[in-house]
Symmetry: C2
Subunit: 243 residues, 2 copies
DNA sequence: CGCCTATTTGATCTGATTCAAACAATGTGG
DNA sequence: CCACATTGTTTGAATCAGATCAAATAGGCG
């Protein structure tokens, strides 16, 4: 049903533009090295000066900032099809760290190859720019979530986001998804303590909105979950709004 | 000392690339309409589908998300030289609202004109893409600030950021800057109550780090302020790190 | 002068943190 | 296949940072 490894990027860009055959060929012709990593592996460190971009093929990764007192804040999750460090094409120095959550398969592409591709097929460059703009939109919601929603709504909102994004890349069947995020990681993403995340998840379970167990998320009541999280998917800029 | 109205964009792009004479000419040749607005004026509403971009020439604006319960979260401030809605070039529908803080002068440029410019001078497109990537980096820090720093550090960090960015565009002389942000706006940006913002600012004043009064910010002890806010300017990706 | 907006103050309350520990699941090597 | 270690989840109690509510004061400006 799915295409082979190398084309989740094409699938994603198709969501954004009508790709011409020539453009798809250019993408398939990209020189890409495939690498596998284990879980909880730091892929890029703050301060690095990467010369390659990473296309996530399988698995989940997160980005985070570290504070001097040792705390960390996860600022994004990424799923298959995402080029999670496109920014390194234009910003020399990494301002945050990227780490795998689960075991991952990653396609590594040289900056030079991508920049050359943009020259030949400018619309592909624009499509990837667009992708980074959607990332930015997600950051804005993330700020809003952490800044102005209480623990319950905040958690519900993030669950909604992750679920919809996994749906969008074909990784959810019906109302169940493989859930790659531990409670401690959720806490770092939500700006909460892991203890409180636990209690909020129990609340959401008791209210029969969702259950998360053994790395599976099940949505019991999508409508109420959305309401609880004050969630509106338009900020994800998906072609056909699933939710 | 400063160039006329139309060139803060050139000054900014110069920070990022060596602009060729031809490229500067292309920028100067852009067809731009200059418009003035009063304070607290909504420039773009969530849901809008803009066909033009806005280059801020004078004044300050902010972006924010509104929650259904009426609260709002400010997610960014912008200062002269910023194209604060470049995203509308590639994302049809606005996912947040933009409003002036102070009276503003704005240069309005048609999307079509910019996209045409990118075709002719691809490096200008890349420079503006880079700009949007720096915005994204700022969002990430904003999430981190709101999610993981306590009220004092959070406030100090934002003050540092705004100060450095104003410095970078030549709007600060020594340690004093025109401060365009009220305490209520600060609260919406920091995810705090305006009452608590007030108390934190008093603390920072008592500790002799800063004073904000009559729309002037004065930095008394930059080193300690940076320390208090756990501030490191590298995420701003400025050419010559001022701070 | 008088209105409106911004800042400040005090008192009270609460959502979430922290600390500490138990419990459950998963995986590893003997 | 079991014993043990490790990581993730759950529980309870004490505490606190920051919110909320309510009202006073101070600037700025037409």
């Amino acid at each position: 049903m799915n295409e082979p490894d190398s084309s989740p990027l094409i699938r994603k860009l198709r969501q954004e533009f009508q790709l011409a055959a020539l453009e798809e060929d250019s993408l398939l012709g990209l020189n890409m090295r495939v690498v596998d990593h284990g879980a909880d592996k730091e892929l890029i460190r703050e301060g690095d000066r990467p010369t390659e971009c990473n296309l996530l093929l399988q698995g989940s990764v997160c980005r985070y900032n570290e504070l001097t007192d040792g705390k960390r804040q996860i600022v994004a999750f990424h799923f298959p099809g995402d080029i999670f460090d496109a920014q390194s094409l234009l910003l020399q120095r990494m301002d945050h760290t990227v780490s795998t959550l689960t075991p991952c398969r990653i396609g590594v592409i040289a900056h030079a190859a991508l920049l050359k591709l943009f020259e030949e097929q400018p619309r592909i460059g624009l499509a990837i720019w667009k992708d980074t703009l959607v990332d930015a939109s997600i950051y804005r919601q993330w700020v809003t979530n952490v800044g102005r929603r209480d623990a319950l709504a905040r958690t519900a909102h993030l669950v909604c986001e992750v679920y919809v994004r996994l749906l969008a890349v074909g990784l959810a069947r019906e109302s169940t998804v493989d859930w790659p995020i531990t409670q401690a990681e959720l806490a770092d993403a939500l700006g909460m303590s892991h203890v409180h995340v636990n209690r909020v998840l129990q609340e959401l379970r008791k209210a029969e909105l969702i259950t998360i167990e053994r790395q599976k998320l099940t949505i019991h009541d999508w409508k109420q979950l959305k309401a609880a999280g004050d969630f509106d998917a338009t900020y994800l800029h998906l072609r056909d709004s699933i939710a």
